[in-house]
């Protein structure tokens, strides 16, 4: 069965026939999709379906894992990110990432947020202060922490920690923000806050989110991709996937028959 390639407006990322192997195990099978600029795209699917692996390809975090082989091509702004000419650190600056479990550094809130800008060589305190404030505001955390910027980030609650991590990614002014199940470790209230924030973020950034929570995908994303067994089963506008899935597997999954 030949899949229909869903077209999206203003694609920023083009994934073309991507295969990925962990050793000999095929983890991604011929993934092909485009991601729309300044929208929220969510990837859903059962555990082990390859959705996290896919977004880790987008900032080459898979490089850190041994025995990974990648075939195919990923273009971001029409540049092949796996070409030898690409500076990985530069790529990661453009493609920020937030992980499943909040992982702030054991440093102050302030130091966490400006970690990236510092690495780029920004030293002036005024500029760093400004970046910090802006990023925390965008991450909807400024009001919570503005009086204790120099407190240890690890003293914050889980939801706040995750927003620190988001602010840390935003501080780099990336084009794309990848979120790998950012709310899986959080309670519903913290989740709601982050979801609100993500909806604000899409004004400035392209957001790609991996989630287990279908309601979350339905609530916040503009496009949704459904993955199974390393394959992209269906990819289209969110409302369509949830109301009128083309594939039987998608329908089974979102209606809770398995997964």
């Amino acid at each position: 069965m030949e899949k229909v390639r869903t077209t999206v407006p203003e694609p920023i990322v083009n994934i073309i026939d991507l295969f990925l192997y962990y050793g000999k195990v095929e983890a991604l099978k011929k993934i092909a999709l485009d991601i729309s600029r300044k929208n929220i795209t969510s990837f859903i699917g059962p555990s082990g379906c390859g959705k996290s692996t896919l977004i880790r390809c987008l900032n080459r975090m898979n490089d850190l894992i041994e025995n990974v082989t990648i075939e195919g091509c990923i273009r971001i702004d029409d540049q092949d990110i796996y070409s030898p000419a690409v500076d990985v650190t530069e790529l990661r600056r453009r493609v920020g990432m937030v992980f499943q479990k909040p992982n702030p550094f054991p440093k102050t809130i302030y130091e966490n947020v400006i970690y990236g800008p510092r690495l780029m060589g920004i030293r002036k305190k005024g500029i760093l202060d400004e970046i910090c404030e802006k990023a925390l505001k965008k991450a909807a955390l400024w009001d919570d922490v503005k009086d204790r910027l120099h407190a240890n980030a690890l003293d914050l609650s889980g939801g706040q920690q995750q927003r620190i991590c988001i602010a840390r990614a935003i501080a780099m002014e990336p084009e794309i923000i990848l979120l790998d199940e950012p709310c899986s470790a959080l309670d519903p209230i913290a989740t709601a806050k982050i979801e609100d924030m993500l909806c604000d973020l899409k004004k400035d950034y392209t957001v790609i989110i991996v989630t287990h929570n279908m309601q979350q995908a339905a609530r916040i994303s503009d496009y949704t991709g459904f993955f199974m067994m390393g394959e992209l089963v269906e990819y289209s506008v969110t409302s369509e996937i949830f109301t009128n899935p083309r594939e039987k597997q998608t329908e089974d999954y979102i209606t809770g028959r398995f997964g």
């Binding site: 900032n59 850190l64 990661r92 550094f105 970690y115 990236g116």
Partner: protein
């Protein structure tokens, strides 16, 4: 139900076993501490009197003494009677009359161990010797005193009575100085030499040397330079120094110049070379009597504002105790002095506690630099010169007339004007130890200035142990510092590389390095001392240039790597870059060894040792701090490496991912995330390394020269506290001062490690508190 019960029993049993184990550990450490402390404690104890007995005497006591076991004492009266009394019962054992006295009265005596010189009011001088022989009948010991009358000096020129005598003698020579009641100072000497025909030849001299100090007394304001007879001048001194015989007839004339200058006390040293004269004006005259016929005045020193009332030598006859009329007690000795044309000058080196009345007698200990002083008010002080402490103070009701120390320095004898003889048994095992002698600068006999010296044993009986712990503490610090300078960077960077950059397939290196930690330190010490040290001495110039060439080769390797075509990197995997460096570093070492000779010839002008001492003023020892640093580094690097590698490997992967996802390079991640997060572990690694280096014994013992010197010079040795204990404990008599000082050293090590570990643990806990929420 049954299993629940069993579980409760098991729980309880485990609870008790664990509690017991923990408590036992704490107790053992505490017991160890207490044991060591108990060995050290006697050093801190003051001297004390253990027994006091009183006997009565009959007449004016001139001198007295006692046997080794304090069983029999002798008392010499001014009428020539020597009484031996049993100190146990007080019974008179024996009575002896000095023959040839013919009714004259003994006025002065000088005692040197067994040898006693007695001088009378009509100019006679007797030498007698009193010894004690021991015999054993069954279990009981009998002490039999013996008196040997050696000779009577024919004091031919002496018509006047003698006020004061000092005398020393050995098998062949005998020198005596007397001060007479008509104001003359007379030197009497006899020497037995062998003639070329092997006949014994006895030479006798008798010379009036009053002039030597009288002439000077008139002219008070002369500086203390070697002083000679005014009439003779330099020429005579030169002759005297050259050992030339000069016929001297001038003394007879000079005696006529007497102007009332008096002599209060005399002291001649056992070398029969230096005669010291004390005067009422507070001066001490130092007369060189090496040339018996031509003694000359070396210097005159103002030692006190009041009259000198007592002079006496300490054990070894080098330090001079000066007691004065105002009660002052000071110790003087000859110290090297370039300003003096003689090269030496008499200097005040120790000040002891003052009496409140004139000092009238000084009695030295025959064991150490301790001495007794007695004043007219009946106060008697037991002093120790080097440690400048007064160990005991006590009082007799009347003015003391004679003072004696028992041969083992454990008893004090005082006779007073009330015809009583006091015996005090004292307990004073460690008189030389004070905080100051252990940790401060001490002015020892023969030293130019107060210094930190460790020298526990010497060649002679009168050697004074010098037990300053400072050079040893310094050695420990030096060894530890140089070790850590080498081990900390290598250990930590190796750990960083291994944990963060090295390819998994090469991580076998960690267990290999851990095996290195198990290497017995005696092997490391052996290798360092017998292989590395000579090797380094031979190749030293090459070693100096090695860091330069290694750095250069790494630079070249980096450039080559950068321009190496991708095909050349085909075999390469991330984390194995280090293998590329190996040939370059080996190459650099080879080149350095090749060029070492060239470097030495051209830059160091032939010989590096010579260049070192000339240009840098440093001495190069074969076994030096660098060798120790490297060898101990071998012992410490594995510790630091393993512990910090664990700490770094345990930094959560999520943090590394977070950092990398923010565009950090692996190196930035290592420095900004790994190192700070692993810092508690790295800190404890360094502290454990420190503890190992401080306590390490075999390596420092074998790889340093064990010279207790205090120099930071990289290229000479040192002696560490731990090595010192190992070296000296087999030679330290059980319970002796050295033995206890060695225990003090171990206590010091124990406390240091205890404090460092506690400190480290506190800091580590604080740091961990900061990071444990991860």
């Amino acid at each position: 139900m049954k299993s629940l019960k069993r579980r409760r029993y098991a729980d309880r049993a485990a609870h008790w076993v664990i509690t017991l184990g923990g408590t036992a550990t704490v107790l053992v450490i505490l017991a160890l501490f207490i044991f060591i402390f108990l060995e050290v404690y006697p050093l801190l104890q003051d001297a004390r009197i253990t027994k006091e007995t009183t006997h009565s005497v009959h007449g004016k006591v001139i001198s007295m003494g006692v046997d080794d076991h304090q069983e029999v004492a002798y008392i010499i009266y001014n009428n020539g009677v020597i009484e031996f009394i049993s100190l146990k019962s007080g019974a008179l054992l024996k009575k002896h009359h000095v023959s040839g006295l013919d009714g004259s009265v003994i006025t002065s005596a000088d005692k040197d161990h067994d040898r006693l010189v007695l001088a009378t009011n009509d100019g006679k001088v007797f030498t007698i010797s009193i010894s004690f022989s021991e015999s054993f009948a069954g279990d009981s010991r009998a002490v039999t005193p013996e008196v040997l009358e050696e000779k009577k000096v024919k004091a031919s020129k002496l018509k006047a009575g003698i006020l004061n005598v000092t005398s020393r003698g050995d098998d062949s020579t005998d020198v005596t100085a007397v001060y007479t009641n008509d104001g003359h100072l007379i030197l009497i000497a006899s020497e037995t030499g062998k003639t070329p025909l092997d006949n014994e030849e006895k030479k006798e001299f008798q010379k009036d040397i009053t002039g030597l100090f009288v002439a000077h007394s008139i002219n008070q304001n002369t500086a203390s330079v070697p002083y000679l007879l005014q009439t003779e001048g330099i020429e005579r001194r030169e002759k005297a120094k050259a050992g030339m015989q000069t016929a001297d007839n001038s003394s007879g004339d000079l005696t006529e110049q007497r102007t009332g200058t008096e002599i209060t006390s005399l002291a001649l040293d056992l070398f029969m070379e230096n005669l010291y004269i004390g005067t009422p004006s507070g001066d001490v005259f130092h007369i060189d009597v090496r040339d018996r016929e031509n003694p000359y005045l070396v210097e005159k020193v103002k030692v006190s504002e009041s009259a000198v009332t007592a002079l006496g030598f300490l054990l070894g006859d080098v330090s001079l105790v000066v007691g004065d009329a105002s009660g002052g007690v000071n110790v003087w000795m000859q110290v090297r002095d370039d300003r003096s044309s003689w090269g030496w000058a008499l200097k005040k080196v120790h000040i002891l506690r003052s009496h409140k009345a004139p000092v009238i007698a000084v009695a030295p200990s025959m064991r150490d630099k301790g001495f007794l002083t007695a004043a007219t008010d009946g106060t008697i002080y037991l002093n120790h010169a080097t440690s400048e402490q007064t160990l005991l103070r006590f009082k007799t009701g009347y003015t003391p007339v004679a003072l004696a120390f028992s041969p083992k320095a454990n008893g004090i004898f005082v006779a007073d004007t009330n015809n009583r003889l006091f015996q005090w048994r004292i307990f004073n095992p460690h008189p030389e130890i004070t905080v100051k002698t252990l940790f401060g600068r001490v002015w020892y006999e023969g030293y130019e200035k107060p210094e930190f010296v460790w020298q526990s044993t010497g060649g002679t009986d009168d050697f004074e142990p010098k037990l300053s712990l400072v050079p040893l503490i310094f050695g420990t610090i030096k060894g530890t510092l140089y070790t850590l300078v080498i081990a900390v960077p290598i250990g930590i960077f190796a750990a960083l590389y291994t944990s963060q950059f090295l390819h998994n397939s090469l991580k076998i290196i960690k267990p290999v390095i851990e095996i290195m930690a198990a290497l017995p330190s005696v092997i490391l010490g052996f290798l360092a001392g017998l292989w590395l040290a000579p090797l380094m001495e031979r190749m030293f110039p090459a070693i100096i240039i090695m860091p330069f060439f290694i750095t250069l080769s790494i630079g070249i390797a980096l450039v080559v790597w950068k321009y190496l075509p991708v095909i050349g990197k085909g075999w390469y995997r991330h984390g194995t870059e280090v293998l590329v460096l190996i040939p370059f570093i080996i190459g650099a070492i080879v080149v350095s060894i090749q060029l070492g000779g060239v470097f030495e010839t051209n830059i160091l002008r032939g010989d590096y040792r010579e260049w070192f001492s000339r240009v840098l003023g440093l001495k190069y020892d074969q076994r030096n701090a660098v060798v120790v640093g490297i060898a101990m580094g071998f012992a410490v690097i594995p510790l630091i490496f393993t512990i910090s590698e664990d700490a770094m490997s345990n930094v959560p992967k999520s943090l590394i991912s977070a950092s990398l996802a923010l565009g950090a390079t692996p190196w930035q991640t290592a420095v900004r995330v790994i190192l700070p997060t692993a810092s508690p572990g790295i800190f404890s690694a360094i502290m454990i390394g420190f503890g190992r280096a401080v306590g390490e014994t075999m390596i420092v013992l074998m790889a340093t020269g064990n010279t207790p010197i205090m120099e930071w010079n990289l290229f000479n040795g040192f002696r560490a506290l731990s090595a010192n204990i190992a070296v000296e404990i087999p030679e330290a008599p059980f319970g002796g001062t050295l033995y206890r000082v060695l225990f003090l050293a171990s206590l010091l090590l124990f406390v240091t490690t205890f404090i460092v570990n506690t400190l480290a643990e506190t800091v580590r806990r604080r740091m961990r508190l900061k990071y444990n929420k991860l």
